[in-house]
């Protein structure tokens, strides 16, 4: 922040306080608020066809925010310059600060408080909820499954990402291969859930896996439900399918960042390809490998959609993310749910801080 210089606006409409302009701006601000509220009521109560409400909503939402900024700036720039300089920064950063206070900073504290109370929020119970998070039977199942996700999912994703990045680098169809591997990143986890439920379907005419099993003469299996605890691995495969592309792209960029002459020099000196890989490529991409690993770890800790859509957390596939949802929003205990959220924050934040630190060193755009 030090290297940037701040400026103050020296003029706005001649520098004099323009009373008429200011009144106009205030009237505009009031009109904008009334218009926005009217739009809100219209959207809430309207019986108009879907396409019309959709278009109206998009225009109302986007133009509304734009109009608020415009009118507020117009008002403040009609004030005497001294006041403009003083107030305008808060119009620029104010909305972001207010929204963040409401949506993230405040809730962090409120969730922490909730986590110290019982399921209805009426009685202070201290750290009992945290004890429950680590001792309830279902929670222990969830934690151990999350450890599966973390260990198996992360190593497979990063390992495959590394393998594919290296292969692609030396192949004749790098771009195409990378596109295909990266493609699953574009779709929703719900969509991926459908795709993989199809793969594992019990009917050998539908599920590829059971088709292979049946063609070798074995009875088809209900992989996602009855094959426990291996069904966790099948869910993890969905994540690997989706995230490997991400790992590959980052690792591939890092590999290309290793100077070519360094590799050439090593080869000229008689190093084998394997030696080059272990002694030059791996150390060169180590920071990237770590970033990828930490990102995938965060993903595994927060996994929700895949499990929710494919098994609903039943059949021994419960994970923390689903547990959190059930405790807070269905029939569970909001104290325990809040405690899970706080533990998630504590687990994720060191990893995120590392990622941010790495990210600030990397040129993104």
């Amino acid at each position: 922040m030090e290297q940037t210089t701040a400026y103050s606006a020296t003029s706005s409409g001649g520098g004099e306080f323009d009373r008429r302009r200011f009144m106009l701006a205030v009237a505009g601000l009031v009109a904008a608020f009334i218009g926005l509220y009217g739009g809100f009521v219209f959207l809430r109560d309207s019986e108009a066809p879907k396409i019309i409400t959709a278009i109206f909503a998009i225009i109302w939402g986007v133009a509304g925010i734009g109009a608020l900024f415009f009118v507020a700036n117009y008002a403040v720039e009609s004030l005497p310059p001294k006041w403009t300089t003083r107030i305008q920064p808060y119009i620029f950063v104010g909305p972001a600060v207010v929204l963040l206070a409401w949506y993230l900073a405040g809730p962090t504290l409120r969730t922490f408080v909730l986590s110290l109370y019982n399921e209805t929020g009426t009685m202070f119970v201290g750290l009992d909820n945290y004890r429950d998070v680590f001792t309830q039977r279902i929670m222990i199942e969830a934690w151990s499954n999350n450890i599966y996700w973390l260990v198996l999912g992360t190593t497979t994703t990063v390992g495959l990402g590394l393998l594919i990045a290296i292969l692609a680098d030396r192949s004749n169809f790098e771009r195409v291969a990378k596109s295909f591997i990266f493609l699953p990143m574009a779709i929703s986890m719900v969509g991926a859930g459908v795709i993989w439920k199809f793969v594992f379907d019990i009917n050998p005419n539908i599920g590829v896996v059971n088709a292979v099993v049946a063609s070798s003469g074995n009875p088809p299996q209900d992989w996602l439900r009855l094959v426990q605890p291996a069904n966790n691995i099948f869910l993890i495969m969905v994540m690997v399918w989706m995230q490997t592309g991400f790992a590959m792209v980052l690792i591939s960029a890092a590999i290309k960042g290793i100077p070519e002459d360094l590799l050439e020099a090593a080869r000229v000196d008689g190093a084998t390809e394997f030696g080059v890989f272990v002694n030059i490529i791996i150390p060169g991409i180590a920071p990237t490998l770590l970033t990828v690993t930490t990102t995938v770890i965060i993903f595994t800790l927060k996994v929700f959609d895949i499990v929710m859509v494919m098994t609903g957390g039943q059949f021994g596939t419960e994970v923390i993310g689903v547990r959190f949802y059930r405790e807070l929003f269905t029939t569970g205990n909001q104290g325990v749910g809040s405690a899970i959220a706080i533990i998630l924050l504590l687990a994720v934040s060191p990893v995120m801080i590392y990622n941010l630190w790495q990210f600030s060193k990397r040129q993104t755009f």
């Binding site: 909305p95 990143m185 779709i187």
Partner: protein
């Protein structure tokens, strides 16, 4: 053993090709199945659309009369017991003859092994899923049934209505904030900026319960405004951080000369800074767009399970899995309807897409 360079490249291409092939199978199967008839999906695998050799029924013959179960039966010069005929007997010309039915009432079916492909495609699944109107479908035994359409078009519009403002609003707010933090001087600047960056580590799970409580109190739950603001709040730390990195790095002299010419902050912001920041805006926009489009958890909570009117695509499909999990003709088509927009974005804007997703790795 010395591996020549050429065979090494071949090996690399082969292994990579194999991986790409395996990676593609799941989605390919779903895509193909979405164009197949509902009965075909259940009775034959999607891979049978590719040429393969299979037994095909070529003729039906009448059964010889007067035979009994306990004696061998001779048909077309081959003698076998009734049980053997029931399971099928190979004839001299390579075809297979199967006795279907009982000894008195039945038929002989002749199968031949041929190269064949199951190329029976239909758009009916998409009509049923998207159109939403009731469809009359011929059943295999000649009758007709009417099925209720799934009207996914409505959810598609809802997804757009949720996603577009949820992308534009945080960008606008974050761009203003990033400019403010980069080029304006005010009290508390440093502290506020640190607080915003610190919010990057907060997983959005933490905010869901308190925000939902607020929404129920002020009547925002289930509304589009509510979910836009939620996605805005959750996307803002990343957006502000990324745009700050970019906007604070813009060339100082351009902004300086604009100030000397008497331009106000809002003019400089809209006329100069926004146009110059398009690469950063685009990368974040694509990341946020896909994030919101593909989101399930936030929609589930802030739109609400019971709120069918405002349901987005991910909710709709999750509901389909629950209620019609075996109706693969609907699920396959529905899943692809939900993927079409991300796939277009992916293919059209691949470069921004990759930088956007790389930046997104720091979203909490």
């Amino acid at each position: 053993m010395k591996i020549t360079k050429r065979s090494a490249t071949f090996l690399v291409n082969f292994v990579l090709g194999l991986i790409v092939f395996i990676w593609t199978i799941p989605a390919l199967g779903l895509l193909i199945s979405s164009f197949r008839d509902r009965e075909d999906i259940k009775s034959s695998g999607w891979w049978t659309i590719f040429p393969h050799s299979a037994e095909v029924k070529v003729a039906e013959l009448p059964i010889p009369t007067g035979e009994t179960v306990d004696k061998p039966i001779t048909i077309e010069g081959v003698t076998a017991s009734f049980q053997e005929w029931k399971t099928g007997v190979k004839l001299a010309d390579g075809s297979r003859l199967v006795w279907e039915g009982s000894i008195r009432v039945g038929k002989l079916v002749r199968y031949e092994t041929k190269f064949t492909a199951n190329l029976n495609f239909t758009l009916q699944n998409y009509q049923e899923v998207v159109g939403g109107q009731d469809l009359t479908i011929k059943t295999p035994n000649g009758g007709q049934t009417t099925v209720k359409g799934e009207n996914m078009l409505e959810s598609f519009l809802n997804s757009l209505t949720v996603t577009i403002p949820s992308t534009v609003i945080p960008i606008l707010i974050a761009a203003y904030a990033a400019y403010g933090f980069s080029w304006m001087r005010f009290r508390g600047r440093r502290l506020l900026f640190i607080v915003i960056v610190a919010m990057l580590v907060v997983p959005l799970q933490i905010a869901l319960k308190p925000i939902l409580t607020d929404y129920v109190q002020i009547g925002l739950s289930g509304t589009f405004l509510g979910i836009w603001l939620a996605h805005t709040g959750f996307g803002l730390p990343l957006a502000t951080y990324l745009l700050y990195n970019y906007i604070s790095g813009l060339p100082k002299d351009i902004l300086e000369s604009a100030f000397i010419d008497g331009a106000s902050h809002s003019t400089i912001f809209t006329r100069l800074v926004l146009p110059l920041s398009i690469p950063a805006l685009a990368s974040f926009a694509i990341f946020q767009f896909l994030w919101v489009w593909n989101d399930y958890l936030v929609a589930l909570l802030f739109i609400g399970i019971g709120n069918r009117e405002n349901q987005v695509l991910t909710m709709r499909i999750a509901e389909l899995i629950g209620s019609r999990g075996q109706d693969w003709h609907l699920l396959t088509a529905g899943a692809f309807v939900s993927m079409i927009v991300p796939l277009i974005v992916f293919f059209a804007l691949q470069r921004y897409f990759v930088t956007g997703l790389m930046a997104g790795s720091v979203k909490g």
